[in-house]
Symmetry: D2
Subunit: 309 residues, 4 copies
């Protein structure tokens, strides 16, 4: 019996109730699988149950007595990644139906097709592409689309197609957004990352991308409205600056939060130094959010996210 | 059908293999329970599987069709915390036996009987007792035993029995350790906390307390051997100081690590200021370790600990 | 020549310009002092210059040639802490006048007379009083005044006078505030700490206490208005919670910020757990703010604070 | 009178004593300068006094009465960056001589000539070169020298000369080190960064580069000796991993510490994940150390460093 290192990730949610874990684990056993990782959460807010499992082909010692749950020993067929996945989907079907589950089965490590939108800031784009190349971020990037030329050389260095499409008026903005939707379809995009893309998306685009577009913005205690928030933060003498990565919704900068972080500053920081430090946090927070999304670790629970780290 | 807020915590470990989660969740369903929380981990190092579950009595809507797994609807008996636990132990028995599990079933929130050993430092004792009283630490403390009088008034303020037993020579040390063992038996102690108790325990006592004694000590990068480590840290110009909470073993300061933390310092800190800052970290790190132990979140995996936070 | 360990702390601010440091250091040399610590900051926002110095009596080796700047060698009088301070004030006078300085000279380590206001929460009061007793906070507390009885036993344990004065209507509120002002005068109070005192101060009291009252409150990214912010934070799925210590002004919760900190949370935290974790941060942040104030490390620069840590 | 934004940074150390600040500030006033930033520290360990000042040309309002300390008003010559620096050096000379100071005067923001040594790891080299290009790191890099080809394309992308020189035996190692010394002389190198250069330097090279070579290595609590420390850290179940940047000395990995940081991990991290997370910390810690060195913020005090951040 072979056992390569392929794993599958199953994420699911449904109305909470008894017997769910038993039913799911039963489907895994029936398919000849083994649970490599598992996390779950029952939301008291929405009454829903969430689960993320990593599943591998069970390693049955040769010559061992069958535990009666491995279909291989019944059919005599060797388990391969291909027939395992089919078998698993088959054994899952009655369970997901019975509990009316939202669910998704994916291979662990499969690169997620990601469209990056950029403007003039380089820090987020550079961080994402560097880590993708270093094998630290399971994404593939068929396109970086930008309303400025600034990040072209970074994209090209990392071997990623770059497209420049200026946005200076309403017409160009509509054309840019149309190009986004076209690219999403063309490349079968699963994730759109607003890597400091500095245009406000139209409500229509926000809706079209709901649940698959991630934005990053600065965050402060207290929050600041209006232009030049780092200057406001400086004037207010904040001792912390931070960043928030969140899903894009029509409610500007208020979508479900995926990740946040802060760092200490003091009175001696100029607005310019705050911006620079803020960029470090933005790049790090966005990278974590993208990574967790790509690893199927981010599940939506109403306006909140469940993060199975 | 009643459903109070009582929960049980089940922790277990066994040799990893397929079907474990299915078998455990089956026992829970059979007893009429529901999984409120669940965490698991398969250790690649030791080949063992670890699990922590919080289980509550399943809330079956009145008049709903039975899902066929709730013994209440079969027997017609109302489920109470008392009969649920008995029923659960019954349904668990064949599973724990079949997989040769180490396991433990406890009620969530039950205060753990804790013996505190102290010397002259007050910060850890004060922190533990303050939080116990504030309802933030599920421990009860039948005794604070110390080789100095220093923490007597703190213990008394918090209404905890205090016993002073000086240790100035080998004989007194043996008597102190005998008193520890006696107190452990007398009060059915589950956890011994060395809250800056500054005597080295004998190998015999270490062995007698294995797996249920937690120690706290300072930690530095790099480590320092010998006396007055904060002075050494100052002389070496470290930029971080830290603390480590670990299980007591016969290997001095090298037992399985439960929690660690660090904080930033700079060249301007005097050795005395390092000590003071170090005490804050020690109190915090020890408190977390005690809390996780008391909530059955700490499982041993060889020389490592699994912490299900 | 004697040199005990007494140090003085001089804080000052004035319109920025050349020669200030030279003039101040000249006054120190003239008085026979030595600079033990010094920090300065020129605010680009307000054009003001800020400085904090710790000064000690200069240790002139016996028999050494005078450097011509130590008045001891001129007068032949032994320097004592008493005559040094008088001499220092004398040499400072023309400098502070010439530059129209706001300034203050204090002895390092002198306990600051502090009035604590409390309600039902114990965490901040307990933390402050524990650290005062442990010698980690240079304050003395002539009174804890509270609109609830809750912290009475803590105050009494730490040997601090406690006074209960209920506030259930407008009249009682006015009486409470009158008592605050009376206590400030009676005990020559230098610092008023709102240690989770849950009543809104009247604008009159805010003004009367301007620059010497510190408040602590929770902080979130984004901020939340209205009641039960931890519940809102939970519902919004924040990944960080924090606290801010600030000077009390008539602008509710918006006075100059002294200290802020955050800690990580995740989706699994209940509102109750957020509150508990929030209390840890509140106690820590408030303690730092009080400590820095008591050590003359907090200077106001318009709506910002300069913190000379 | 003109005043551009040029600033100078003066760092100095000498035996501590009264009058130093007064003398230095006098030299600044005499040259027509103004103190923009100042930090100082008196080391109780070595009895030495350390100072870092940023100085700018004083802005005397036109038509204002001279305060009698600005040599411009005396000579009538307009102050320019060129003549200011000469004048400043002149007024400093008697002071630095009188107090037998180690001192250094530099222009703020001048890029420091930096030689980077690399092997196969890309994370540190990429981080340094990205930030240099983004204007966040005041270094220029005339050469990246490596015993592997791995980082060639990164260097070339950032327009930095790259040289490959294999080291597989003692002879090649000597040749590599000779090339280092040659490059140091050829490019007038001020800083050598070992950006995960994985060869042990000979004692001779360590001595030749003393005080101007910075190394980065992982750090753990407790420390681990020998090969594969991340594997050891995993086996020991550490809850924190970290990194230390330090000056290179002949005492392997034990030179004066410049910067350290840690990050949290848990039992679920594989050794491979620990390595990846460790690389993030290494890149960040090394970048900070290089930045502070390039900004003249790092001063040696025996085996310790003073960091004027």
């Amino acid at each position: 019996m072979t056992n390569d290192n392929t794993q599958w990730v199953l994420t699911l949610s449904c109305i909470d109730g008894p017997g769910i874990v038993h039913a799911i684990s039963g489907a895994i056993v029936a398919a000849g699988g083994n649970i490599a990782e598992s996390q779950q959460f029952a939301s008291a807010d929405t009454g829903r149950f969430f689960m993320r499992l990593q599943v591998e082909i069970a390693n049955v010692p040769s010559g061992s007595a069958s535990v009666g749950q491995n279909s291989d020993s019944v059919t005599g067929t060797a388990t391969t990644p291909e027939n395992f996945e089919a078998r698993f989907r088959e054994s899952l079907a009655p369970v997901t139906e019975r509990y009316d589950m939202n669910w998704r089965l994916d291979r662990v490590g499969r690169p997620v097709r990601t469209l990056i939108l950029a403007s003039t800031a380089t820090h987020c784009v550079n961080d994402l592409l560097y880590r993708r190349r270093a094998g630290q971020l399971p994404i593939e990037v068929p396109l970086v689309l930008s309303n400025h030329e600034t990040v072209r050389d970074i994209a090209e260095f990392y071997g990623v197609p770059f497209e420049y499409k200026p946005v200076t008026g309403a017409e160009e903005k509509a054309a840019f957004e149309a190009r986004v939707l076209e690219a999403v379809e063309q490349h079968d995009i699963e994730l759109v990352v607003l890597a400091r893309y500095m245009q406000i998306l139209s409500p229509e685009l926000c809706e079209a991308l709901e649940g698959k577009a991630i934005n990053i913005h600065h965050s402060f205690l207290p929050g600041f409205k209006g232009a030049n928030p780092y200057k406001q933060a400086h004037e207010r003498g904040v001792k912390l600056i931070g960043a928030t990565a969140h899903f894009v919704t029509t409610d500007l900068d208020e979508g479900p939060i995926i990740e946040q972080d802060t760092t200490r500053v003091d009175h001696a920081y100029t607005p310019r130094e705050l911006v620079q430090l803020g960029q470090d946090i933005e790049a790090r927070v966005l990278r974590h959010a993208v990574n967790w999304f790509a690893e199927n670790r981010v599940l939506a629970d109403g306006d909140r996210t469940i993060i199975f780290r």
